[in-house]
Amino acid sequence: MYPYLNLGHDILLPLYNLFIGIGIVFGLIYLDNQIKNLKIKFLTDRNLHISLIISVIIGFLGAKIFELIYHGKAISIINLYSGGTTFMGGIISGGIVFLLINYLLKTNNLFSFNLVVPSLIIAHIFGRIGCFLGGCCYGKPTNLFFGVKYPESAPASFYLGQDIYSHPTQLYESFFLIIFILIIEKYAQFKNKIFIYLAGYGVFRFLIEFLRSDERGHFITELISPSQVISILFVLFVVITILIKCYFFKKSTASNNF
């Protein structure tokens, strides 16, 4: 939509990158406030920041690698530069790295994941606005009044054609995430935040993918997009965790009765 901010003298500031940066900054400020409110010890706080920032960096690399895998391209330096990123790939790779580093630093994993969920959502809200400005992750053509028309230089205009109005799927996602974080912060118990996030975002992402029009690639199956496959895995993970918890809860209640 508006990919670069011209600062004069041909200095073009990429707004997609800038918004991702702003999102990470706001996410970290929110995390700091949570750490202050929960009176978390300094060493845990420091370890959490170390694992988080390494996970973010590797998550970005993972997001690029997953995108290449989806499109069946070779993982090479040139392809890594020219290719896009996928949020779900970033979540999986960053999440695994976060899990491993927390394990090595002996930080409670479930606690850490629950702590960083709101920050992740905040960063994601800004990231999607960055996508909208960059003109990527666009939706299918629509005649609805909130359809948007991208400028000639945007990828959306190149693939959809000029003067075509399409669903602003990036803004739908940002709007959903704003509502979602309000719900999580107001109603969810701290210990359940990560599960509510995975299930809620998984369901939303599965549905929004039907409105997406950009090249999605394929992974495992060609019936649904790779992000929908991962969304199903997220929801399945949550369902299985709930079932296991219920099973052990019943077992412990039964053993307490005797």
């Binding site: 003298h9 041909d10 200095i11 073009l12 500031l13 990429p14 990158n17 800038l18 991702i20 940066g21 702003i22 990470i24 900054v25 970290l28 400020i29 700091d32 300094f42 060493l43 706080d45 420091r46 920041h49 170390i50 988080l52 920032i53 390494i54 973010v56 960096i57 530069y81």
Partner: protein
């Protein structure tokens, strides 16, 4: 046992914004560097092997990552974070082939200086 902790968010903001802008700046600088090398060799009709651009890119990416890590640890370990950000500024400053590189350079320098001069508080470990 006590430890000194920073109180300012400035290094974090400067480090992360600088880091995310340093990545496209590195790509831009690498491209500019390759173009300059190609123009220098235009008479000798030798083809560039891409090593100049590759080196500029690698240094730029290392600078960006150092800046992001330094910025995010600006409150926890101010001295090492400040050193990382100054190192990131030097690495980014080495790649001034593109004008975009001036922005992360300035941001890393401000963040690095703030890491050292910010108000600190003592905490019990």
């Amino acid at each position: 046992m006590t430890k000194e902790k920073g109180t300012s968010n400035v290094p974090m903001i400067m480090g992360i914004i600088g880091g995310v802008l340093a990545l496209p700046a590195a790509v831009c600088s690498a491209w500019c560097g390759e173009v300059i090398v190609s123009l220098d060799n235009i008479d000798s009709s030798t083809v560039s092997d891409g090593s100049t651009g590759g080196t500029i890119l690698l240094i730029g990416i290392i600078g960006a990552i150092l800046g992001i890590i330094g910025g995010s640890l600006g409150k926890k370990t101010p001295v090492s974070a400040g050193s990382m950000m100054i190192a990131a500024a030097i690495l980014t400053g080495w790649n001034l082939a593109s004008f975009l590189s001036y922005i992360p350079l300035i941001l890393f320098l401000i963040g690095g200086i703030f890491c050292f001069v910010q108000k600190k508080e003592s905490i019990e470990l």
